[in-house]
Symmetry: C2
Subunit: 445 residues, 2 copies
């Protein structure tokens, strides 16, 4: 009997825990679900005979070492900054670790020690990062195997809502960390276009968007991610002339979000001293130039944006309640916190809501004297507000990887992301059983 | 005989050193000019019998303590981050310290220890900060003394060029730290307008400018400084309804600089990997949206800005050489470094160039049942490219303050800025002898 220690039973753990518990009988696993909240852990275990709920404090070194020491593999869904504590113990105690988070510099430094200990620290095996790596690498390796030469790789992903559940003017609700949505893209986006580096500062990010078509699902909007260039090396793309990664939103979202960027209210770096005495309307007015005090707020905002008053971008802004004289009721909050506070209320998942993950890779490559374009698209829909597509696509890859490791099917040691075929191939194969599939279309240009 | 230790003999030290040496005979001072470069110190001392040049390494603790211990007062013109080393020793060795830099958190923490030691750590006694504090406080105290109530205080300062020396389309050359000019204003400007906090993000900073008239000198452009609100407390202004501090530039500068902000090339937070292989034209193109590759660069830039091709903003940009296929010749530089590199060449002071400091305070206040407007303006012109108005206005206040302290005319101890009348009054009086004067106009509204 093998023991799996899962640390973190929050929002994105539901499908992962279901998979582990459902698989535990046939595989003879014991599954420990550890969370700071015992209730949450217990609720997720739901009395399963192979499951065990555990009140767990990651900062309690004795407990951490005891539980990791008793496990055969650890899966961590902790906030990214806390993985290191677990990873360090995993190396010392010679236990494999699986996470869905980006490799941090601290984790990266454990590579040599992990190799020495014969331990695999597998990161970035969730959705994005995770399924994006695996599905892209499968195509990249295939094109290379066929003697092809990649000219352009563009990859998009969005955690969206099914159309009937995205029943608000933004077509958006929160299925993951709201703060990350509010501060998304701050800094400068870097990508590669026609053989040149391109830079796009945050102030223009939500204006310079692209339209992306997903066959059978219509059009989406994409804005560029922060650092597309960093994917060259792990994907073995070298000096590929075209490289861009982007985030998908429903059409119209970006233009409306740009109102916030232009106002300046997505900033999380300073405090609005008197926020608890302000209404949302006051808050917006404090970002408008002087001289608009006597105009109705929507008229002022239209003048500020240089648009008509009746745009759908302003409809979206107004729908959130940002133009209302409603008290903010947050004390000494940053602008981003004020915006997030309102969005969390307006963009909250409702019972029965179904989310939808959209991913698309676009390749242009030459093979022989042909130039081909390949689009590979994935759509995954959630079951309800608990078993979301987000939880499924983040949790299942990690769960399947953990199973493969426990079955001794993975020979890797050290710090890895799932760009190796021995990882991505079996994980992608099994994901198909859960409806996580890609549809390809190819044409010769 | 008293000894003054001046640390730092760079660009802004010339007038300060002249003042100290010229005053040294009558006051019986010994003036030690300490700099990392002995040549520079020696050149500035220029064989003066009361002067002594010293090769000085601020990181050499033994030398630092020995020299500070042998002095009666220390003036530090070091880069701001290094003042703390000197201040710490000054407290321990019971020596007064004068700097023209902002009070850092580390310096602030020395307040109690400095008071205990009977030592004055006087900071922000240069131009801005310095003359701004003193001249504003003189008026604020006077208005309060007359029973007036300040409704609005707006204060502007710019280190500019005399019109005939500002002989380029920007009307600007560097008289202080070029990097600070390039990254000026990044973040969000905060000010107070008609009783409300106002916020202005960097992306709009150089668009939302004001026109400022200085009698006899025409119009200037002002953009808002980062944090005007922080002046409420030290100036005793409480919840004043209007409060803004701004930076002055020649008309047209801000609109042209906004081209750089909108492109994104003032960013100092990331590296352009291939910068040594790029020309300035390539650099600019890497910030333009795709699809403009075939347009002449100036045409593309006009389309990007949404303007005609023949604007004076684009004239200014083109004059710098940013649209030319000239190699950048900087390796792994940030965008801000690339821009600074070019500006340092184009905006370099030439022999004989005269700079010009412009400062203006604008007050609106009520007294009895009258509402009055008071403008107080200062113009200081440089003699040449060495004895600049910048060096004069930064250095003389510090030098005069040091003299007052040595003459035991200042009773303050602890960490201070010159907002106290016993400091600002005699310093402003003596500055008049050097042509550093304010002209006031008042009218009843």
């Amino acid at each position: 009997m093998k023991t799996i220690l899962l640390i973190g039973a929050g929002r994105s753990a539901s499908s992962l825990i279901s998979y582990l518990l459902n698989t535990s009988s046939s595989m003879d696993w014991k599954v420990t679900v550890a969370d700071f909240s015992y209730e949450l852990a217990e609720k997720k275990v739901n009395g399963h005979p192979q499951g065990r709920a555990l009140a767990f404090d990651v900062n309690n070194a004795a407990q951490r070492k005891a539980e990791i020491g008793a496990a055969d593999i650890v899966i961590s869904l902790l906030p990214p900054a806390l993985h290191y504590l677990v990873a360090e113990d995993c190396v010392t105690l010679r236990k494999h670790l699986v996470t869905a988070s980006y490799v941090s510099p601290e984790i990266k430094e454990l590579d040599a020690r992990a190799k020495e200990a014969g331990v695999l620290l597998l990161n970035e095996i969730g959705l994005d990062p995770g399924i994006d790596h695996m599905s892209a690498m499968e195509i990249i390796d295939r094109i290379k195997h066929e003697g092809g030469h990649i000219i352009s790789f563009r990859s998009y992903c969005g955690g969206l809502m099914e159309p009937e559940s995205g029943n608000n003017p933004w077509g958006y609700k929160f299925t993951w960390n709201p703060r990350n949505v509010v501060v998304a893209g701050q800094g400068t986006a870097k990508y590669q276009h026609e053989g040149r580096h391109k830079y796009l500062p945050y102030s223009r990010l939500f204006l310079q968007t692209e339209q992306i078509e997903v066959p059978g699902h219509g059009m989406f909007e994409a804005y560029a991610n922060r650092d597309s260039l960093s994917y060259r090396e792990p994907y073995g793309l070298g000096a590929v002339p075209g490289l861009l990664r982007g985030t998908l939103r429903m059409p119209g979202y970006c233009k409306a979000w740009h109102v916030f960027v232009k106002l300046g209210i997505t900033d999380d770096s300073y405090i609005i001293e008197d926020s608890e005495h302000l209404t949302y309307a006051d808050f917006i007015r404090s970002y408008l130039p002087s001289g608009m005090e006597d105009m109705p707020l929507r008229t002022a905002l239209a003048a500020f944006m240089g648009t008509e008053t009746d745009t759908s971008a302003l409809d979206r802004v107004e729908w959130l309640g940002l133009l209302e004289p409603t008290p903010i009721e947050l004390c000494r909050a940053t602008p981003a916190q004020i915006l997030q506070h309102l969005l969390e209320e307006k963009w909250r998942l409702q019972p029965g809501d179904k989310d939808m993950i959209v991913m698309q890779h676009q390749f242009v490559y030459t093979v022989g004297n042909l130039t081909k374009e390949l689009r590979s698209s994935m759509i995954v829909k959630g079951e309800d507000e608990i078993y979301t597509a987000m939880a499924k696509t983040v949790g299942l890859p990690a769960a399947i990887a953990a199973k493969l490791i426990l079955m001794d099917k993975i020979s890797l040691t050290g710090v890895h992301i799932p760009t190796d075929r021995q990882l991505y191939h079996p994980v992608l194969e099994e994901l198909k059983e859960y409806g996580i599939t890609f549809t390809e279309e190819e044409r010769t240009l």
